[in-house]
């Protein structure tokens, strides 16, 4: 009876959850230095991004393309972009930050990556909520047309980052330079992800080009959910979903085969 897979899963679940909790506690204790200022920093950086884009908008005299307030519009683009970058970096960093822990046969790179991503997702949602509430408390604006759709778009945007981070972390076990080169791939995303414009206002040539960017769709779906006065004509959930699935599947396969062939039974050396 105990060999029945669902029973084995149920038996392993508490151990698995304890390990996920341990990784999350370690992340909180180490990345945010375990004090209030450290936690605050996680909120201040996206706020600084929002302010920077706000200043750029003012300097360029740019009008927002949606019938909403400027704070909500900038938050809808900047925060998912920043948080998806956070997710990429967190997963990439976990490979080196946990290299000693990963020598335990009880800890796998997928467990670490999954736990780090779960923390990143919760953090990013808190950051988004905090900035929306800040906008409301300072300027009195708050938009949330369809919370489920907004959450779905936000989830797709941040998960696209997490999936890309996982793929790069896996590939960098073969080509270590890739983890250092990842910021180069990420930099253009700021300009091609609809952070400070919408898909509807793009010229067709650019739109055809940007339509392959999963983050672009995540942000557009988020805006569909946030703003009652906006409906993106080009948002397609299948693009980020496909991207996420391809990245995770490829990363997983690479992870399993990254040393000399498939792992030998009972031999944990592949996990190094």
């Amino acid at each position: 009876m105990n060999d029945w897979p669902p029973v084995r899963v149920l038996e392993a679940a508490p151990r698995w959850l304890r390990k996920v909790k341990a990784i999350i506690l370690r992340e909180i204790g180490s990345r945010y230095t375990g004090d209030a200022l450290g936690y605050l920093w996680a909120y201040l950086v996206p706020l600084a991004w929002v302010l920077a884009v706000y200043v750029i908008f003012l300097l360029l005299g740019r009008r927002i393309p949606i019938d909403t307030d400027i704070g909500s519009f900038i938050c809808s683009g900047v925060v998912p972009y920043v948080c998806s970058r956070y997710a990429v970096n967190a997963i990439l960093r976990s490979r080196t930050a946990y290299r000693h822990i990963l020598s335990f046969p009880t800890v796998s790179p997928n467990l670490v990556g999954g736990a780090v991503f779960a923390l990143e997702m919760v953090n990013s949602l808190l950051i988004f909520g905090f900035l929306l509430l800040l906008n409301y408390s300072v300027f009195g604006f708050f938009e949330m047309h369809d919370p489920v759709l907004a959450l779905w778009g936000y989830f797709l945007a941040v998960t696209s980052g997490g999936a890309f981070g996982y793929l790069m972390a896996s590939l960098s076990t073969i080509v270590p330079a890739l983890s250092r080169a990842t910021p180069i791939f990420l930099r253009p995303l700021f300009y091609i992800s609809g952070v400070f414009y919408t898909a509807n206002e793009l010229p067709p040539t650019l739109r055809d080009l940007f339509v392959w960017n999963p983050l672009f769709h995540g942000i557009e779906i988020l805006r569909n959910g946030l703003f009652i006065g906006y409906e993106s004509l080009f948002a397609m959930a299948w693009v980020p979903i496909t991207f996420i699935l391809v990245c995770v599947a490829t990363g997983y396969i690479v992870q399993r085969r990254r040393l000399s062939g498939a792992p030998v039974e009972g031999d944990a050396s592949w996990a190094i």
Binding site: R15, G29, H100, I101, S103, T106, V107, L259, G266, I272
Partner: protein, 233 residues
């Protein structure tokens, strides 16, 4: 079997290539007590890290199965901004070891007292080393990896570490010990080898290993004197 199979490890340091292992093979059972005698500066720590799973060989395979410990006294995974206690609890959970028992053992063994509940960044190097060694002993392992010495700090604490390891070995655990001390090798080992030209040379007993190792040291000294002689001229 665990160990090294046709393993090569080299890296470049200051534009100079350093070869630690050259197609070296040494396979043993997890419960074996292997001591490798090697002179200082030949890469004992790198070899220990290879078996511990911290780094990968340039070529060949490192076979690891079962629970292989971190090098005894290793402190690299302790995060300075967390307390000793929190670090230990997290590592125990990740190793699937009983958290409370591990934490109590470490607190008692390390003799850190109240400092155990303080951030590791406030520790002196000796306190950190004691915490690291206590943690090594608290996390169950099938094979312990040791690099250089057994134990750390004051002689009384070092003795305590040696006794604790001996107890683990008597309970059936294995040991992979890289050292330049024939005395320690003889005390803890049951099988012996010498690291020579990047290869493991297995010997019949401790005496033979000691003989080869001492010859190696003499040759190294002669070479050193020759190099110094040339450079002074």
């Amino acid at each position: 079997m665990i160990g090294f199979e046709q393993c090569t490890k080299h890296y470049v340091l200051d534009d100079e290539e350093r070869v630690i292992l050259r197609e070296a093979t040494l396979l043993f059972e997890p419960w074996d007590r292997i001591c490798i005698l090697a002179p200082p500066g030949v890469g004992k720590t790198t070899i220990a890290h290879l078996l511990a799973g911290f780094t990968r060989p340039t070529e060949g395979n490192v076979h690891r199965s079962g629970r292989i410990s971190w090098p005894l006294g290793f402190t690299g995974a302790l995060h300075p901004s967390m307390t000793g206690e929190r670090n230990v609890e997290i590592i125990a959970d990740l190793a699937e070891a009983p958290r409370n028992r591990v934490s109590a053992y470490v607190a008692e063994f390390s003799e850190l007292g109240e400092d155990y509940h303080r951030k590791v960044e406030t520790y002196s190097s000796s306190m950190r080393a004691r915490l690291g060694f206590a943690l090594s002993m608290a996390i169950p392992a099938d094979t312990y990896v040791a690099d250089g010495n057994i134990g750390t700090g004051a002689p009384s604490f070092r003795t305590r570490c040696e006794v604790a390891l001996e107890q683990k070995l008597n309970e059936g655990a294995g040991l992979f010990f890289l050292t330049h001390s024939p005395r320690l090798a003889e005390r803890f080992g049951r099988r012996f080898a010498v690291l020579q030209g990047g290869k493991f040379v297995l010997t019949a007993d401790a005496e033979e290993a000691k003989g080869i190792f001492e010859t190696q040291l003499v040759e190294q000294d002669s070479l050193q004197q020759l190099v110094e002689g040339f450079s002074s001229e």
